[in-house]
Amino acid sequence: MTLAPARPTGPENPGPGPERPGPENPGPGSGPGPARPAPVLSVRDLRVSFPSEQGPVQAVRGVDFDLLPGRTLGIVGESGSGKSATALALMGLLPPAAHLEGRILLGGRDLAAMDDTRLARIRGKDIGMVFQDPMSALTPVLSVGRLLSQALRVHQDLSRKDAWEQAVQLLDLVGIPDPRERAKAFPHEFSGGMRQRVVIALAIANKPSVLVADEPTTALDVTVQAQILEVLRLAQRESGAALVLITHDLGVVAGHADDVAVMYAGRIVEHAGVDELFARPTMPYTARLLAAVPTAGSGVQRPLLPIAGEPPSPVALPAGCAFAPRCAVARDVCRTTEPDLTAPAGRPGRVACHRAQEIADGTLDPAGPAGSAVALTPDRAAARRTPGEVVLRVEDLVKTFPVTRGALLKRRTGTLHAVNGVGFEVRAGETLALVGESGSGKTTTLREVLRLRAPEGGRIEVAGTDVATLRSAAQVRELRSEVQIVLQDPTDALDPRLTVFDLLAEPLRAAGADRTAVRSRIPRLLDLVGLDRAVGDRFPAALSGGQRQRVGIARALAREPRLLVLDEPLSALDVSVQAEIVNLLVRLKRELALAYLVVAHDLAVVRYFSDRIAVMYLGHIVESGATEEIFARPRHPYTRALLSAVPLPDPQRERRRERIVLRGEQPSAARLPAGCVFVDRCPLHREADESVRTRCRTERPSTVGAPDGSDHRYACHAL
């Protein structure tokens, strides 16, 4: 079978969403239709370059698109594809050193030709922007009401009082509870989700006709992401603005965009309506990207197909098509001439590919035949057949932190219950994933395991040894080689001044290995993680993100541990690289009979990668069980909400599926409710009868097994 990425429906069924365009309303660039409204924003041949020591970095190389009023254009791409530089260019917020060419036409004016003073009159008034990281996007020393009223007064002649009044209304609009009081609060007094609402309020304050959102939900938890996307949709409706939604998350695009532009190496390589693009991707890169992205959705699991190689460096672009080195269907012409973005006959949308016509005609599979050869299907059956011995056993783990007040004299004013009675087992050859939102105690649990000291409460047993019984430093050191960690961001986790050889030699030397042992071991380690032996001489800076994470894994494996602790091992990597690392980790687990304890927030990745899942909320495991069981039959209301919040990279299903949007945010672990920790946000609690509601309020639910007798367990009164 050749690769067929996500083709749930035929082209005859374009998905009649209420305000969605069908194929009869084609993407821009496919020729002027008779009734086509005039675009609010037109970008023509946009080019952005930055000077660097290796010569100019061409971040954006000729981007064209039109944005129609009230519509949403999704721009997707991996890091370095030029999508953020495009966004900043639209706003006139590029750093001073950047060089900008082309035209950005907004309401008849060319923004690209304006200086900062003239641009400032347009920024915020006609075009607003929502930024990625809400934690740093707001001035820390000004109250949010003041930020908003300042933004209003920049463009409107308002008295201070009127501006404040409007600011309060805006906060109300974006869903900040008690806006009149909260307007006086400072950004640090808000949670991440609430801050992002404030950022959105800032962007729509003066009712701009165009909104640019650059990765607006990437830094947020998945249930908060769902809320923020709703707010963004609402804001767009209220202001009637057209939206440029920039993201790497194909699920977000599938649910929220009308048209999609896929960027690769600074260019748009495919531009089409969202249904068309997801159903029948034409550009090989799009097709491979869709096949590489994991989905959390129910139904048959399709294999995860990595794209070989890595995105090209923007200082050393290949001569022809930038994707040609990674493309399965590239021809000689692809390596010499860069294709233009054109509309293939019989297809709406535009594609930059020499073989677009063949693909459009259906005579060529854009992903090529090579894809299926390295397909990964998680081998869960094998894992179940051979249950290894227990490598990590955690029972009733408790960890608290003191809450202190006062800058000079610290007084303890409360206790933060970070982890509260958590228990689980991990067996050899098995992956347990701890999932949950930030603040749920996942990372604290990992740290407690890695600490190898007697925990504050409960028991931790590593490789059959209770860590509380370790008496000497030598014993701790010995046990330390059984547990190793792979960190989230490989760029930060590797000392930039050590070569890969030294990085890998360090743990070996610490274990007392001699020179010859080190020399013979390192090439084998590099082979193990699929790196070329020549990489040993290089510094981390010379490696790509995927290679660095491989080095991180090799370093963790150097001492031949039995348990590998992985803290968000994939979240810093691009989608196309992620799939390869997932494959590597699964292979290593099988070959070396490793046990993995993974912390991850991306449920879609977790599904491909773990055998069992434990869902954490406020320091408690609320549900645990086999991965497929949890995804197919989630019981706990929190798990259900969490799973339903993950956007699916499939516009049809994304629009149809039922979403449980949780109210509010996870409360602070310093004030745990007396009963069930989830009670304040629980949809079941609201519908339950009085006796159950009282129990939810007063009694912490105990963990019970599912009636089918499997190891699926959950803690809920209402089930």
Partner: protein, 327 residues
């Protein structure tokens, strides 16, 4: 806030008390007023010296603890900080000189901060532009000019200007003219005398503020919230002034508050060149003349300024940074 300040002030008061008493013992053991009489002819006997010093509570034959107790009761009961070996009252000296220094220091400090921060904002917004580089070069050059050289250069320049103008409008010495009458005339005369010393202190003092504030600002200019501010419709320069500077000012405000005692007693060279009788000169004189009580009082004065500076630093931090809230 008031409670917090009171608590801090009480703590500082304790520190000042301990430091001052410790200084009394140190000064009494190092400074020997008897040596002031060694040069005198005819040679004074031990007896005579003791009799001369006894009225000022400086007689070395008296036990140290005894002298200390007398001094301390004087300070506590009558706020009398004692007398110099020749009988001049310390209270009067410090009262007069601290006012002289205040005239000199307050203006110069304010000017240094304003000039330094303004230059920092201007240059940080144009990092690596020619104006940034020029200002940086000038500041580095001034940083390396000793105060005495700068002061003398200004004096020479002023004399030249006075000659050219044929009118004595820049005063190069003294804090006032002796024969001026009337309120406005006195004020004008004082201000004219202040110009050159203030200029000296500003030229040598602004540099630190310029260079540190510039780098503090550069750390903040690239941050996301400045970009957000620009996205709402501010120009780069406006966003830097309204959003970046407010955040980056916090460390500067603290360092200014803490530098107050140092400028008060540290302007010795400027005071000497321009013939001002300020605290800096007094500090040096008291030590030279084995004036135990004067030295101790100067130390106590500096300690009190440090306390005031520290409390001011706390208050400005709380005002500027809402993230710091006192309980």
């Amino acid at each position: 806030m008031l409670r917090y300040v009171t608590r801090r002030a009480a703590g500082w008061f304790l520190v000042i008390a301990v430091a001052t008493n410790a200084t009394y013992f140190l000064a009494s053991s190092f400074l020997d007023p008897r040596s002031n009489f060694k040069e005198l002819r005819p040679v004074r006997t031990d007896e005579q010296v003791s009799r001369a010093l006894a009225p000022y509570n400086l007689d070395p034959h008296e036990p140290l603890l005894h002298r200390w107790w007398d001094w301390l009761s004087g300070v506590v009961l009558r706020f009398d900080w004692g007398r110099s070996p020749v009988g001049v009252e310390v209270n009067g000296e410090i009262g007069h000189r601290s006012l002289v220094s205040a005239q000199l220091v307050i203006g110069a400090t304010l000017l240094s901060v304003v000039v330094g921060v303004a230059l920092a904002v201007h240059t940080a917004s144009r990092q690596y532009g020619w104006r940034d580089r020029a200002a940086q070069a000038l500041s580095m050059a001034l940083f390396n000019v000793p105060v005495s050289v700068a002061a003398l250069a200004l004096v020479l320049l002023a004399i030249r200007l006075n000659e050219q103008a044929g009118w004595h409008f820049l005063y190069v010495a003294g804090e006032r003219s002796p024969d001026v009458e009337g309120f406005w005339a006195t004020l004008g005369d004082r201000a004219a005398h202040l110009v050159l010393p203030t200029l000296t202190l500003t030229l040598t003092g602004y540099v630190g503020h310029h260079l540190t504030q510039r780098s503090l600002l550069l750390d903040v200019i690239g941050s996301d919230f400045v970009r957000t501010a620009r996205a709402t419709g501010l120009t780069r320069a406006q966003a830097i002034r309204r959003h970046a500077l407010r955040t980056a000012l916090i460390p500067t405000a603290q360092s200014v508050a803490f530098s107050i005692p140092a400028v008060f007693t540290g302007a010795v060279l400027t005071e000497t060149v321009f013939g001002w009788n300020g605290m800096g000169q007094y500090f040096v004189q008291t030590i030279n003349k084995n004036d135990v009580h004067g030295t101790v009082a100067t130390a106590a004065f500096a300690a009190a300024l440090t306390a005031i500076g520290a409390i001011l630093a706390d208050i400005t931090t709380v005002l500027l940074d809402p993230r710091v809230r006192v309980s």
